[in-house]
């Protein structure tokens, strides 16, 4: 490859180096610092961790059931919210992708409109909806469905609703992007060849929408897993999610090493399935090429 001069090659390397440098400074370096802190002991000093190296924090995490339960609850809640987001988001994304261009841009605007308002305020608004004298309970009592207010606020269900509401747009947008690109003739062709509408959906639409489904699920599941604000505001005092544990360990207990260990564990739990999914997709892409 003598086509590229030395200077071009250097330029190329420089351009490729910029994102790597960025990732190194703002991801790898902080990650290594956190990893180092997670291996230290908490001490009353500034900074509040020792220079020692031990796996004590991880052993503690693995032996204390409370942490295991909290991780599990986070996974279950995040997964449930992801599933509901997919069930709600798929038909919405499909509808938007199939509407006329003018209607489409209006609907897309509606999807992103909530971002104009602070995330914190929107979660606060859910408190007003869900509490014992909130809109939902008042409406149900007024309709005569219930006599006594339901305890929705400060339950896992409230967290689940909050997560679903907050992350729905992150499901809809990647799904919309894949569905919008899909050739409508493909579904017609399946119908023409004898597939019912349901069969055509599972044979054609669903497999072709899969990259969007995967992207949407990751975009919802990962941040939902580490969510701190929603369980803090909508969940009960004992309804812990791992993001809240992380914050409490760090901020109230000032146990930086343990908090770091919690963060590392969270990363491991998230990274393993993602790597698995990506390898799967890469293999599929390879077999297609």
């Amino acid at each position: 490859m003598e086509l590229l001069g030395r200077r071009d090659l250097w330029w190329r390397r420089l351009i490729v180096a910029i994102p790597y440098l960025w990732l190194f400074v703002f991801f790898a370096l902080p990650f290594l610092i956190i990893l180092k802190i997670s291996l230290a002991d908490p001490i009353m000093a500034r900074p509040p961790f020792s220079e020692t190296v031990s796996a004590d924090n991880f052993i503690f995490l693995l032996n204390d059931k409370l942490y295991a339960i909290t991780y599990l609850r986070s996974i279950v809640l995040a997964a449930a919210a992801t599933v509901l987001c997919l069930l709600l988001g798929f038909p919405m994304a499909y509808g938007i992708a199939r509407s006329t261009p003018a209607v489409r841009s209006f609907l897309l605007l509606l999807i992103v409109l909530p971002f104009w308002i602070s995330f914190l305020l929107r979660v606060y608004a859910w408190m007003g909806l869900l509490n014992n004298y909130g809109v939902v309970n008042n409406l149900l009592i007024w309709l005569g469905v219930i006599d006594q207010p339901l305890q929705i606020m400060y339950t896992d269900f409230a967290i689940f609703l909050g997560l679903t509401y907050s992350y729905l747009p992150f499901m809809i947008l990647p799904l919309y992007a894949t569905l919008e690109r899909m050739d409508l003739d493909l579904v017609d062709a399946a119908l023409d060849l004898g597939a019912s509408r349901t069969a055509a959906f599972w044979d054609i639409t669903w497999p072709l929408a899969r990259p969007g489904v995967v992207a949407g699920c990751l975009l919802v599941f990962i941040p939902a897993m580490g969510e701190y604000v929603i369980p803090y505001l909508l969940g009960g005092p004992e309804a812990m999610m791992i993001g809240r544990v992380l914050f409490d360990e760090f901020y109230f207990n000032r146990d930086w090493p343990l908090a770091s260990a919690v963060a590392i564990m969270l990363l491991v739990i998230l990274v393993v399935p993602i790597v698995f999914l990506q390898r799967n997709q890469a293999r599929e892409a390879e077999s297609a090429a």
Binding site: A189, D192, L193, G194, A199, A288
Partner: protein, 369 residues
């Protein structure tokens, strides 16, 4: 093989409205068994809507569709004995060539052995046996089209619908595919209905053509009839090129008519009976290849004759095209076959020449209705 059946596909009073827009306007049509029928028209003329109604993707606003004696007007696409080859080919990108082709039979829950046998037959038919395990992205446009064709044929439909089958192919491949389609149609005896905007495609492929404009059929007939006897100005203009002369009718009798044309500066005659009256405006047209061009005055006085100057000429090898300026300033097109090889071209730029044609080549055009 199949019995002749002139109304194998029967459309009666078919209309399709989208809101206020009338896409197809009260169309009647009979297509015979085993025909290769083309619906020809510009974009937005309603031809694709008509095809989609035959496939079952759209339901007519009014009218009735029968295929092989069965009313299918409201039958969904997956229950019709009709398959379609889409303009975009619509080959399933996530399935291999053989899976694409097998799809129709799979949905029918045909036995695996039968599916395998028919897929092999189809791969043979479209010459893609070596590509059976490939994914569509690894195929050229022409190969993808053959996959689409095989996929549409595997269920042995009574009718195959083809939406602009040659539009996306380059010129060489078009000619090849055109004859391939005709051979397959001949071999399988399936009725083909082709939608196209390309008059050349329609002319070469079809046994009959319907020229469609603004949701209606202007003329239905054999390619030759439509070319030689267009029923109105739109059809004449849409199919091939034509020279038109406006004028006033000066004589009408059983054998023909004559008009006095200011365009031509002379009288033009046409044979046959026509619905025109003396003193009324009329239009006579002639195809470029029916016009003779020469230096000398044509001897036959019954010919239509005019003087002109060669404004432009193009030598195309087999043909020469001339643009001739008449005394009135009107430009007419003349094409002539180059039957003999000669050292010098007979007619040159700026030559004063005669153009002439026989009265039986004149076409009388009525206004669009």
């Amino acid at each position: 093989m199949s019995q002749p059946d002139p109304s194998f596909i029967r459309l009666q009073g078919i209309s399709k409205h989208f809101g206020d827009f009338v896409a197809v306007d009260n169309v009647d049509l009979d297509i015979g068994r085993g025909e290769l029928f083309s619906i020809l028209g510009g974009s937005g003329c309603g031809k694709t809507t008509l095809l989609r109604m035959l496939a079952g993707f759209e339901t007519p606003t009014a009218g009735r569709i029968e295929i092989d004696g069965v009313d299918v007007t409201t039958v969904p696409p997956y229950e019709r004995p009709v398959n379609m080859m889409f303009q975009s080919y619509a080959v399933f990108p996530h399935m291999s060539v053989e899976k694409n082709i097998a799809y129709g039979l799979r949905k029918e829950r045909a036995p695996a052995a039968q599916i395998a046998k028919r897929v092999d037959e189809m791969l043979e038919l479209v010459q893609l046996a070596d590509f059976r395990r490939r994914k569509p992205v690894q195929l050229s446009g022409g190969q993808q089209q053959r996959v689409a064709l095989a996929r549409a044929l595997i269920k042995r439909p009574k009718v195959l619908l083809l939406d602009e089958p040659l539009a996306a192919l380059d010129k060489k491949l078009r000619e090849h595919t055109q004859f391939e389609l005709m051979n397959i149609q001949d071999e399988l005896g399936i009725t083909f209905v082709v939608v196209t905007h390309d008059q050349e495609e329609a002319m070469t492929l079809s046994s009959r053509i319907a020229v469609m404009h603004k949701g209606r059929f202007l003329q239905v007939g054999k390619p030759k009839e439509i070319y030689e006897y267009p029923c109105n100005r739109f059809v004449a203009d849409f199919i091939g090129t034509i020279n038109t002369f406006e004028g006033t009718v000066t004589a009408v009798d059983d054998d023909g008519i004559a008009i006095e044309s200011t365009d031509a500066g002379t009288s033009i005659t046409a044979l046959g009976q026509h619905d025109v009256a003396v003193g009324k405006p009329a239009c006579i047209a002639v195809r470029p290849e029916k016009v003779f061009i020469g230096r000398d005055e044509p001897s036959d006085s019954s010919d239509i004759r005019m003087r002109g100057v060669v404004d432009d000429l193009a030598y195309l090898g087999n043909l020469s095209l001339y643009r001739v300026r008449l005394a009135s300033g009107k430009i007419i097109l003349v094409s002539q076959q180059n039957r003999q090889r000669s050292a010098e071209r007979y007619v040159e730029w700026e030559d004063e020449i005669w153009v002439s044609w026989r009265p039986r080549s004149s076409i009388v055009l009525v206004e669009d209705r």
